[in-house]
Structures are given as structure tokens and as C-alpha cells.
Symmetry: D3
């Protein structure tokens, strides 16, 4: 049971005490994708300016959501992110849009939840803007790609897009 | 281009005008899963009270996030949800936890983004509470399962868990 | 167990389904007090303009908090309050400041949590502004005074200030 | 004193009671501008994709802020906006970017504060994205252009851009 | 008048300047109770899983509210809490549930408002979940129990539960 | 193009990386005004207590909005403001109310957006409270007055009120 750092000895949810942890530079990169189907994919790809606005809107939503993480995830610490970026890649063979979010801070606790939340909300925003065309889109494969800084050292997931 | 209801004729993002739409009872059900791996799965399953608190915390997070949808997804309309519920199912063969979120309102626009956001944040919360054990968890297969009410009629996805 | 309307048949938290409930005019009045002690009481009472600003600030905080209720209380429905007011009365014999918050809407569910939240945050704001003088203040006796509209009829608490 | 609808008979701030008001379709249009200076103006105008992203980002910020109005303006009622749009026009002769925000709902109270807040935050966002180039930008002439619906009838400001 | 640190020399509300204050480890503990009456008390006590979910939900709400304090209390500084915990004790002789919230940070200003807000919202959440059974519940005796760190030294309230 | 610090090399919006920047004491002062017209000006000026409450309410709104800046302006960093103050001056010759907001922190990035947002929302709040009397009010001349701390040195605008 000791492994659930977010549960105290009685099994109750608790925000982990990080008061004594060192301030280090921490980076996290998360990624995920949305399978949009052929029609949406083509519409975005050929969309010119419009394409720009779908992804620009999703990018802004992802960045703002990363900042909102402690409001959304009950046991996350409030953090002062020093960088957030959100990037998209279009993968025609799957009719998918990949999203990668990088978060950074100099602080006492990691920023992977911020990166994962940024990815999730960016993808949900694409879903919202395209749902009139396709109701069968799917958001998938959201995971942590890389994480550095802090006691647990550098983490890198081998299989990635 | 006409199909992107969230883009005006110049390709600019816009919140769709629903003023004239009818108030009808609308329901949406979304679902998704998190692959937690064997160790986390066992810890939650055998956790007794603790298991309760991990999922109880994620359930509350999902319900609160569904209410926050218009703050997160830029072009979503503010809504007065009349019901939100979040349910979990543990699937041992995949070491996965499935999450299903149902949202409801009597209003002018659908609630599928609310259901999808509820699922996403509930799963992110499980991720957060278990990430000290496993950094390779994956959130996957988030999609709309069912939607009723409104002009576009009843939608049901055939393949589901 | 049936009485816990916020728990489903498995004991899980759920936002109650009010879709079918009638839209009626609903009013709630809540009240509470803060015991500030002699020194703070005198400072506020003799404060002139300053007194105005302590209470004006607490009033604004209470009104804004009533609007934030669905963000704070996990299972509260989002509502469109049509009125919020916050009033203070100074009770010298107890060195107390009483706060009363009235909330109103035409909707499907009651507004007592909004009134109670308005009172709580207004009193916390007084605490905050006076805590440099007295660390032993106490917020007390927060309760519902009156409630009307909706199926459960008119409720009035007999004992009140 | 009776004219301050947001002050009660004792001069205290209060959210006006609109419970009894009729639900009508209400529209508001507000506008304002930011004087960015020659260098920023040229950078945005020649920016191609970049220009798109500055204005796309400001547009999203304005739409999201319109939805946040009741959280920002203490006595504003929570509303369910049914439409928000934000448009920009570049005026070379002043090195200015004009912003116009249109808000709409079917409800009990007007939406001019939402339109004005949308304009303000869209312009602040342009300021933020360009402030590294010019610290002397100025946000100006924010006003209501048009308002319809509700008891006070149609309002149109004669002098406009 | 000098004692109201939140009022400037003209009696206007102001967020106190803490720029020059030292970063120290600061802890606060607040507590309060809700008198729920015999029926609710029994229902919670015998509730098994359900009891767990009422208190789990209230605990999450309290932790999230502690993080939201600077949004609720107008003159509170934004803070980076490094720990929040919320605990409940059931006191049969009063049919009361006691709530204790502990907050911690390494920062320039104290965290007692965060602890008091955590207690208040946790108790309001219990109220919300039980109000269908009893409309006469009362939230009471919310006060600071202990505070350490910072210039004013250690504070401990002698009378406690 | 390099000058748009908020756009990456592809013209995409990005939250600037400030991880490596030094923590210094930073101050910003912004100002703006609202032209309220003769009638509103007189009503506020002669309002006694009421005047107090209009401006007290706007002051609280401005302070709270300064804290909300990173939620409103998409690419602003979350910050821990150590001071916010909002002051008003009444200028009879223009029937204007001037607003000045000062923000301060010890941090890695400047606080001018916070000061500008505080001014904007304080003025919008005055607009809201007086709009029943005059629909032709105008918010104008919002600009940065002074800024110190950080790499770019001290900035002071010569022309001011």
C-alpha cells in the first residue's frame, strides 16, 4: 500500500508533502493522438487558413489547460510552469493528428500531469471542432514520453511516434 | 469548408450560434480506459478502502471536470448540466480501468464534450494517483458511445466494451 | 441508504438527475456569524470608511463565491442565479458580525448551497482582513434560515438571530 | 440614488434581481482598439502564418473571456451565452487593430458586459504577444456599439469605426 | 487603524506587500464541525461503502478548495501549497463530524486562510450530500488550531477537540 | 519575426521559456480611465457611501482579476504576485475616473500584464455598475506607466495623468 503516495496510512486521499523537496529544473513531454477519419483529415489538411485556426485554437486550449492542471486533478500541487508548448503532427496513414506537449519548471515536483493534461485538452478541442463531421473520432495513446529532473532521474519511453 | 461549424467563412474560430435551437432533453455517454499494468491493477484491486479512495477521487474529479468543460474547450457553450455520473469497471485481462461518463441536460446544444471531458479527467486522475508505481500507463480509446436529443437524432456506436 | 440522493445504488457519488424537475422560482436564505473579539469589533465599528471597506470587500467575496458554488461543491448543479445579496449586522454583545446571504433563481433545483457558500466565504474574508489583530476568531452557526420553491415546499427555521 | 441598480437602499453592492424578467433574445456588440505602433503593425501585417497565430490566439482568449464574465465582474449574473464571435480589423493609418465582439443569448438579462469583456481580453492578449517589441501600446475606445432585446429596447451608437 | 494590514492609509482594500518577506516553511491547522443530527449521523456511520464516499467526496472538495483560496478570498496571495490534508472524526455524542485541514508551504506568507477554506468547503460538501435528510444541520466552530513559520512565531490554540 | 517572443520558429503560439531567468523583484504600474459622462460622475461623486461601494467593488474586482491573469491571457506564466493595489482618481473636467494598478513579485518574469488586466477589469466593473444610467461610457487609454526589474531595465512612460 505504501506505493500509493497519494493515499495516507488509512487509505485517504492526500496531497503529498513536497515541502522538503529540492527545487530542480524539471521537464516533461507527453503525447497522444486523435483518429479523425479520412473526411476530417482531408478537410483539415486542405483547409489552408482554416486548418491553421483549428490547430491554433487547440494549441491555445492545450497551453491554458496545462496551467489549469491543479484545478482539475485533485491532488496535484499548484505549480509555476516556466514553459508550455504544444505541437501537432499530421499522420496521413492513420488519419490521425498527433499532439505533443512539453512542460517545464524549476520547482519541487514534476510536471508530467501538466503535460498529459495539455495533450488531453488539445485533443478534446480538435474533437469539438470536427465533431459535426465525424462522431466516431477516438482519442488514444496518451502517455508520458520523457521526464527529467527530480529524484527519480531521467525517464524516456522507448516506443514512440 | 462549410462542415467546420466552428469556423466562420474566413476560417476564424467562432462559438456556433445556437440561439434559435430548440430546448430538448439531451444525453451523451462517453467512455475510455487507462492501461495501468499488472502491479497497479493488483494494488487497486486488493486495496480495499484504498481502492475506494482512488476511484472515489477520480469520480469526483471527472464530475467536476464535466462541469468545467466550457472553461477548457474554447468554443463550447456554457451549459446547465442536469446530471453527471462517472462509473469505473476493472478489466483484469488488459490490466485496464474503463471509465464511462454520462451527461444530461435540457438545453439547446449537445453534451458530448462534457462526457468526453469527464472521462479524460477521471482517467488523468487515476494516472496521477498511480504514477509513482508505473510511469508507462496509457490513456486510450476515448470516444462517444451514445448521444440522443437534438436535431441529429440518436447516435449509438456499435463497437463498445 | 435511499436517502442519500447524492449516492447511487453502489454508494458512489453522483450528481442527481434533475432533468425532469419543474422550473420554479426558488429562494434560499442562509446565515452565520464570526466572533471577532472586542478589539476587532471596536476597530471595525469605529472604522468609518475603513469599516465600509472591510464589509464591502467581504460582501463582494460572498456574492462572487455564491456564483462559484458548483465549482466548489462537487455534486452541485451549475445554476443561473438571478439574485444574490449579502448583508451584515454587528452584534456588540457577542462581538460578532452576522452575515445573511439570499439567493434566488428560476430553475430546477434549490439554491441553499449557494446561500451557504456565500455566507461562508463572506465570513472567511472578514477573518482574512482581521487576522493580523486576532488569531482566535471563530466562524460559527452557519445554517439555512429559509427556503422556498420546489417540491419540498417552504422551510423556515424557527430559531434565528 | 435609485439609478444605481447595483446598489441597494443602503448603498451596498447587490446582484440585481432578474428573476421576474422575461426571457428574450438579446444581442450586444462591443468594440475597442489597440494602438500598436508602426513596427508591431508591420510585423503582424507581414507575418503570414504568424499574424494568423497572434490574432487566432487573441480571438480564442476573447471568446473564453466572454464566457468568464460573471467570474470577473462581481455583480454580473451567470449566463448561458448562445453565441460569441470576435473579429479584428487592421487600420494602417493609426497602426491600430480594432476588435469587435458579438455576444448573444436567450435570457433574462443583457450581454453587453460579456461583449465588452471579450474585447478587453482579446486586446490584452495582443498586447501580451507584442509587448517585447513595443512597451508603449495603448488599449483604447472600448465601448458598446449596439444592443438589442430586453426592456430598454434597441441601442445603437452613431459614431463608430 | 494601522492594525488592518489589508487596508491602506485611506481605508482602501489592498493586497499586503510581502515581496520582502523571508521564505520559510509555514504550517497551519484549522478545524470545524458540522452538527448533522441523529438520523444523518447514523446513516453515515452505518453506511459502509457509502460513508466512505460521502467523506471521500468532502475530502477531495476540501483539498481542491484549499488550492482555490486566492480565487475566493479577495486579498489572499497566490501560493504554492506543498501539502494539503483533510481528516474527519465522527463524534457521536454531538452527532457531529469534525474536520481538520492541514496546509503547508515554503513561502512568504502564512497558509491559515487555505486551511480554514479547506475546512469550510469540506463541511459544506457534507451538508450538500446530506441535506435531503436534514435541513437543520449547522456548520460551526471553524477556527485556527495551530500555525507555525513566519515572523509571528508559533501559535497554538489551547481549547480544541 | 524573431521579435515575437510568443511565437516559435513556425509561427505557433508558445509560452516563452523563462526557466533560466533570474528571480528579481519586479514592479509594474498600469493605468487607464473610463469616461462616464456628467450624470454618472455626479451620482458617484455625491454618492457618499454609495460612491464608496461602487469603487470598493471595482477595486476588489481589479485585485482579483490581476491574480487571474494567467487564466485569461493564454501565454502568461502563472505567477505568485506579492502585492496588488488598485487606486482611483476622479477627474471632473473629463467626467472620467482614472484607475491605476500596481503589481509586484519576486520572480522570473514581469508583471505588466497583471497590472493591465487589473486596470481593465476594475474599469469594466465601474461600467457594469453604472450602465443603467449611461450606455455611452468609454474605457480608454489603458497603458503601462512604469515597469522595473528584469533584464530590460527600468521603463517609465513620460506622458501620464
Amino acid at each position: 500500500m505504501a506505493e500509493f503516495t497519494h493515499l495516507d496510512e488509512n487509505g485517504n486521499a492526500v496531497m503529498v508533502d513536497v515541502t522538503e523537496k529540492e527545487i530542480t529544473e524539471r521537464i516533461a513531454v507527453a503525447e497522444g493522438k486523435i483518429l479523425v477519419g479520412e473526411e476530417v483529415f482531408a478537410a483539415i489538411k486542405e483547409g489552408g487558413v482554416a486548418k491553421g485556426d483549428v490547430l491554433a485554437c487547440a494549441r491555445v486550449a492545450g497551453i491554458m489547460a496545462a496551467k489549469k492542471t491543479p484545478e482539475l486533478i485533485p491532488l496535484c500541487h499548484p505549480l509555476m510552469l516556466t514553459k508550455v508548448s504544444v505541437e501537432f503532427t499530421m499522420a496521413e496513414e492513420e488519419y490521425a493528428i498527433y499532439c505533443r506537449c512539453t512542460t517545464k519548471l524549476a520547482g519541487k515536483t514534476g510536471v508530467e500531469m501538466e503535460a498529459l493534461t495539455g495533450v488531453s485538452v488539445a485533443l478534446l478541442t480538435i474533437y469539438d471542432m470536427c465533431k459535426a463531421i465525424n462522431k466516431r473520432m477516438e482519442i488514444s495513446d496518451i502517455h508520458l514520453l520523457e521526464k527529467s529532473g527530480g529524484k527519480s532521474g531521467h525517464f524516456q519511453r522507448s516506443i514512440s511516434v
